[in-house]
Amino acid sequence: MIRIDCPFCGLRDHSEFSYGGDASINYPPLDAPAEQWHDAVFLRENIRGRQLETWQHTSGCRMWLNVERDTVSHEIFAVWPAHRGYGRVLHAEKENTE
């Protein structure tokens, strides 16, 4: 069981989350050339080791997360909201409580 420390919900089983995919992909503008879209949609670096990926806390707070995880050991190094605005909100609240 991978345990993911959701910035909103705390440490939860990965079965509450859905794996998204490679978070290092920058999806191009909607009208970008086909080659850019091809690379973003179809090609993967497929890192063996530490990679940046997205997960959604589907059965929890529904937040999309960026996770830095080792794809061999499954160790997780960092988790943060994919949406910067969400990150700011949660960070500010954490500051306030501490």
Partner: protein
Amino acid sequence: MTARRLSTGGLIDRTQAVDFSWDGNPLQGFAGDSLAAALLANNQRIVARSFKYHRPRGIMSCGVEESGALVTVGDGDRRDPNVKATTQELYQGLVASGQNAFPNVRFDVGAVNNLFGRFLPAGFYYKTFMGLPPFESGSGTGYWMWCENIIRKAAGMGSASRAPDPDHYEHGHLFCEVLVVGAGPAGISAAIAAAELGLDVLLVEQDALLGGDLLGQSDAQASRDELLKALAASGVRVMNRTTAFGLYDHGAAGLVERVTDHITQPDPNLPRQRFWTVRAQQTIVASGALERHIAFDNNDRPGIMTAAAGRHYLNRYAVLPGQQIVIAGNNDSTQIVAMDMAAAGAEVTLLDARADIGDSTALKDAGVQIRTGTAPLSARGKTLNSIQLARGLPGAWQADEKLDCDALLISGGWSPVVNLISHRGARPQWNADNACFVVPEEFDGVRLAGSAAGVWQTQACEQSGRHAAMQAAKALGKTVSEAPGVSIGGWQTPIEPLYEINTEGRKSKAFVDLQHDVSSDDVRLAYREGYVSVEHLKRYTTLGMATDGGKMGNVIGLALMAEALGKDIPAVGTTTFRPPYTPVAIGALAGRSVSEHFRPLRRTPLHDWNLTQGATMTMAGLWHRPWYFARPGETINEAYIREAATTRSSVGLCDVTSLGKIAVQGPDATEFLNRIYTNPFAKLPIGKARYGIMLRDDGIVMDDGTTWRLSETDYFMTTTTVNAAKVLTWLEELLQTRWPELRVHVTSVSEQWAGCAIAGPKSREVLSACVHQTRAVSNEALPFMGVIETALQGGIPCRIARISFSGEMAFEAYVPSDYGPAMMDLLYPQAALHEGCLYGLEALGTMRIEKGHVTGAELDGRVSIDDAGLGKMASPNKAFIGSVLRQRPELMRSDRPQLVGIFPKDRNATFNVGALLCAADEISGMGEGWITGATHSPELGHWIGLGFIKGGVDAWQSKIAVAADPLRDQQTEVEIVSPHMVDPSGERMHG
């Protein structure tokens, strides 16, 4: 006279006799017995037959490593095959029987295999059975499958019931700071120490009793009581009869708790077993060590067991395993066994392969005969009656005299149970001094303690447990005083590695993996044939693949392969241990998610109302939806045709609640919709709905539905039933990961609203009789694609859109779910006034096929918007998700299969969905297209279909196609027509 129950001693309760049945014979044991102990006490020597050669087998151990005493427990639909008698607690009325034998385990005709054993070496089946013997001539798989049929019946072990398991199981969740596995001296000490440091500790033990090795010691009663008292006072949560079967990522452990397997008539409210998932911050594995066997001729004879097992039977169960007992080994652990056996009154001879065994005064004082430099060479008797001895040094043995005996207790050394930590990926390392595999002291929050860490003495194990607890506490940020660690080992005289005993050139049947009948010769054959890596050895010979997981034999197999290769054991490697540590019932792992609760059933608010009206339900994802509403005597076909015809001629009502519904809210909602739909949303007025199609990134159609504009910033989106969750997640992903600048919230409101479609020429009349203000649904107030928020009579809030899936004038009305039945109670009597009806999915399908409206059957994840005939909905004036990749060359070809309508050439003919559309002159190959929908059209009076065909209608204007359906022996000539088969101009829905 061999094994017998003693009149005193042990941890059994002699006041509680327990009746049980073995192979149909009534026997008696005591409360506290294991089945194996009770069988032994009743002097049942042959209790099983081996897998391949059907050799007689007895009880070989007293625990999970058992590879001999596999029996079937229970009968009928509660039959459990392959139960290790050593781990089954005895209870009143237990029924057990032998397996893999005919007529019984004592006399088994299958034993003829043993005579042919020379022709059945490891892997022989890879070399034959291919074709007719002797030279395997022939072709195809027929001959093999004929042989396989016989082989399958001979293979297998016990026989499982084919009836559903009548018991139930459940899953549970546990959290703790420290999980301790194993309640022997090390585990209990670790748990107490961790609890004393203020940690929340969970201690699990597979046995019914706590104490581990202390249970087998003759003089440990007091120290065990003391430990248990301290444990009870410590606040540790203790679970017995609970096996930690696997360790997984991030401190997760799987446990299985046997709740009622030891109870004659359990409380029916209790599950048979519980599967627990534990999340522990730190784990201490104190799972002990298992004693190994030694390979020598006939080392599998009933009457031969491990030395520690003999001691456990004596001290825990008060069963003396024999009267003339020989104990043979290569390490110090046999000495205490010999003394205990002698003290219990047996005639004891201790064989030790080592020349020097240290101070043996105590042994001699106890009356034990000692022979050093001696080992068993061969066992005699169908059940053991004597052994041939070998003398000398390991590796160069000489045959010696014969010795009569009725029990032989073996110790080939000890293997720490490193399985659990190995599940996590830790690699065991060979420790030559102690002749065993050990693992690092700590691996990713998992620590070993006690004999699992290679520590042999009780006191040292306790210390090792405390040390592990301190280390775990430290890792959790506690300030702790240092507890000294304990080093591996602890014997007075070093172990002499000993894996096989034989003399030069002597033929022997010496088993390495006893359950799978893998012999030392099989290992050498694997070597000769080049299957030398551990993984090849294991797979080729099946060594270690049996239900005991090779707990006794794996190390011997490795050692023999190392010897054949002329290398040391580490060079051969170690096998990777896979979970579960001991086999786990599939039922336990499934828990309560079985039968009708395999997946939850999703009910619309109208579910019960529909059933009351006579609905037959069908599945749509997790939902149940009305399929049709048959009137008395009607078939499904009659019902759906009537429903569709009634709807087209008057009015029909249909539960559409299951459509996905998403609230899209916020200042940028319009811009958001404009990006995700192919068609423009920027100018959709408030109070209007629009049909939209969304594509995936790769330009293929993802989903469709209508979106209603309720206010400047507030939309109500519907999706297909099946894709509702997928679409919501997709929208959230876009908003949170790609377009953070958009201020939009999406929320599922699928459960908030009950929906009903009111379709047909009389639909407005029905609706207007039910709304609070009749004018609200007039053509002016609610034109085609109009949306209003109003109320039904009785003040039920309601939102209505005039949209049509059936092609008739139609409305979708949504009320808050708790009012759903009330809405139907208003609508249905009004519909009845017009002789309207309720309709289900089948009639819905008929009407949408008539209109050429696509559903999931067409939008199967491979279809482009152009294929579906909706290319006009892809705006050329804006970019949207999928707008670039949908224009890839292969997707733009004009000869791609396109959506069409299908008529049978002979209007009385029919065809099936799933038939292929072929050119009339080539009814073979991949075909030109396929049929996705088919129905009788009441409107047209004949069978019609929807499907895809290369080039679409234009390419097939004057050509006949054939709907080929060899699966159902049907071939129908068809005409390809426009998919809009009824009211193509849409007058009815606009009218």
